[in-house]
């Protein structure tokens, strides 16, 4: 699916160069020059393609890595008794510490 998304991005980049409407002065809906209307469509299409990209081609391991990293930092600090204020901030902002000392990110379902 990742490849499909990147093909769509390439199509979008190619479609951006609309030489076919270059000298066309027709008005869409009676007020929008067609050259401008087409590029408004390109903007909306871009949002749709990027929606597909973040849905299908999102690097999910980033969130897993972050959770693992914070978890390991937290465990180390707890075990050595050196939980610093900076780490405390990390806990407050990014993680919720469960009763069994495991952690979850704020965006992970409870």
């Amino acid at each position: 699916m990742k490849h499909f998304v990147w093909i769509l991005v390439a199509v979008l980049l190619l479609a951006h160069h609309d030489f076919w409407f270059w000298n066309d002065d027709r008005l869409v809906f009676g007020f929008l020059p067609i050259g401008l209307f087409y590029h408004v469509f390109i903007s909306i299409a871009a949002a749709c393609v990027w929606f597909l990209a973040v849905t299908m081609a999102w690097p999910r391991e980033l969130d897993e890595e972050a959770t693992q990293r914070f978890s390991s930092q937290l465990t180390t600090r707890h075990s050595t008794g050196t939980l610093r204020s900076d780490d405390q901030t990390l806990v407050e902002e990014d993680l919720t510490v469960r009763g069994d000392n495991t952690v979850r990110t704020d965006e992970e379902p409870s």
Binding site: G30, P33, L36, I44, A46, W50
Partner: protein
């Protein structure tokens, strides 16, 4: 009553009230300040998706988006939207996705606050920072100037008539009153006020104050931009419904403005490289690092093209409408396209709404200035002072104060430079974006190409800087507004391309070529930046 309280004064009161609100916002943000450098520079990585969307969008949309786009479409027609807005909708989100997310991850892992910290670590070379420093800071100065100058012009145009005896304004070389600016707060004073307000909320609020102010101002300029568009449509069209007004106005648009008949195909195509500058904007790098998590980026990636559309379509249409003859544009405004939007707002709306719309334009300008000021202060502190003096030599609190000191200095320098005279916002911005876009191969290679070496990176930076300086001086330092490279094709035909193509290619070829002939980086370093598991993109 109108004689006792002229229109210009009403607008001035609204502008001053708006600036007061911003200071209040900065004050509240400063109450949440935790006193650490990380909190001052990166808001402790606490920014969620909505605020990240608003702050990234507010930061990328500057005077260029409102004042510059309307002025340029007044001159070139509707093609300006495709040339920059729809192209940016694709390319900006691409940069957020493939550059921003990855840099966020590396930044969180390794504790970066600036691009130079990343490049020094990635290339294991100290000199690369010294090479990049003057280029990144040097390119951001014209970007800052765009905002400062545009704010001065906007305030003067929208407060014209307020103080005719105190601030008279005459047409150049004559003793005739300039009707568009006579009695308005002069640019030196308006720009000074804007600089001071931005300075105060950045100084006290740091990145959190900046992000909050950006979010607030983005909402303000988007909403007020749409309101201005509708009000002006009713005034120009004189019909009962919005659609009827739009249709009446559209029928009066000259053919060369409703098409791209005067625009070169190759120039349009090569403009596509300009938005790549977002990948190397140092202030955007800092904003990316404020994100709470990787997922925070999803909303900005998807919504950015729509937000650009919401802001640019009305501005481009307003610029084109100014060519219809339904409103007479005075010669003084025609020769200073930055004044087209303020002039239309002032001429076609009532003083109160005009004041609100002035606040909207200023909001767009200030939402970029604040990030840029903060970023330059951070670079000076992190990459020069503490890097060479030693991090342990200064406490966190001392570093916060040093960052603030540099911010004050850069605001002062920018303000003084802004007094040197008028330049086209659009032309200056394009040169600034050209410089950053030329460095795009460097950031892309640093993230996706294991073979990049410090020597290759240095060669790429020098090639980008050298070629940029050559073309910039060839354009008479931006005075030739429509500067392009013209390649003769024979039979009186020529290919017209943007200078960014040459500077981009020079940097890419130098980066790749020199990297391939120099010793590859060590595996130990590469493993940190290219872990086997990461096959994200």
């Amino acid at each position: 009553m109108p004689n006792e309280f002229p229109a210009g004064k009403t607008q001035l009161v609204v502008i001053v009230t708006y600036l007061g609100l911003l200071l209040l916002l900065g004050f509240f943000a400063s109450r949440l300040f935790r006193g650490t450098k990380k909190d001052y520079q990166l808001a402790s990585h606490s920014i969620g998706p909505v605020l990240l969307l608003l702050s990234l969008f507010g930061t990328t949309m500057t005077a260029f988006a409102l004042v510059g786009s309307s002025g340029e479409s007044f001159k070139q027609g509707i093609g300006v939207y495709g040339m920059l807005a729809s192209a940016s909708g694709i390319v900006h989100s691409l940069c957020f996705f493939v550059i921003g997310v990855k840099l966020w991850k590396l930044g969180r892992q390794n504790g970066y606050s600036t691009q130079i910290e990343f490049f020094r670590d990635r290339l294991q070379n100290d000199w690369i920072g010294l090479l990049l420093f003057p280029i990144l800071v040097g390119l951001i100065i014209p970007y800052l100037l765009i905002g400062v100058m545009a704010s001065g012009v906007t305030i003067q145009n929208l407060t014209a008539g307020a103080f005719p005896n105190l601030f008279p304004s005459y047409l150049p070389g004559t003793d005739q009153v300039n009707p568009t600016s006579h009695g308005g707060v002069p640019p030196w004073l308006g720009s000074l006020g804007i600089c001071l307000v931005v300075l105060i909320y950045v100084f006290f609020g740091g990145m959190r104050g900046t992000a909050w102010a950006n979010g607030f101002q983005t909402i303000v300029f988007m909403v007020l931009g749409l309101v201005a568009f509708c009000v002006i449509a009713f005034k120009l069209g004189k019909q009962n419904s919005l659609i009827a007004n739009l249709q009446v106005i559209a029928e009066s648009i000259p053919n060369n403005k409703s098409t791209r008949s005067n625009m070169s195909h190759t120039k349009f195509i090569t403009y596509m490289l300009i938005p790549l500058s977002v990948g190397m904007f140092p202030h955007l790098f800092q904003h990316w690092l404020t994100a709470k998590s990787a997922k925070t980026f999803k909303l900005p990636v998807v919504c950015h093209p729509i937000f650009i559309m919401i802001v640019w379509v009305p501005c481009v249409l307003l610029g084109v409408w100014a060519t219809t003859g339904l409103i007479q544009i005075p010669p003084a405004v025609q020769s200073n396209q930055n004044a087209v939007l303020p002039f239309m707002v002032r001429s076609l709306t009532n003083p109160l709404l005009g004041g609100f719309l002035a606040a909207g334009i200023l909001a767009a300008i200030m939402s970029s200035l604040d990030s840029q000021f903060l970023c330059v202060g951070t670079i000076f502190n992190n990459d020069i002072v503490t890097h060479y003096a030693g991090k342990k030599r200064f406490s966190d609190r001392q570093q916060v104060w040093m960052t603030r000191g540099f911010i004050v200095a850069i605001v002062g320098v920018t303000y003084i430079l802004s007094l040197q005279g008028y330049r086209s916002v659009f032309a200056m911005a394009v040169w600034c974006f050209t410089g950053y876009a030329s460095l795009f191969p460097l950031i892309f290679a640093a993230l996706y190409w294991r073979r990049l070496t410090a020597a290759g990176a240095a060669a790429g930076i020098l090639a980008a800087a050298g070629s940029w300086i050559y073309f910039f001086q060839d354009s008479k330092f931006g005075a030739v507004r429509d500067y392009t490279i013209k390649i003769p094709l024979g039979a009186n035909r020529e290919l017209e391309i943007m200078a960014v193509v040459a500077t981009f290619l020079a940097a890419a070829i130098a980066t790749v070529g020199v990297s391939l002939i120099t010793k590859p980086p060590g595996e130990k370093v590469l493993d940190r930046f290219f872990p086997p598991k990461n096959e994200a993109f």
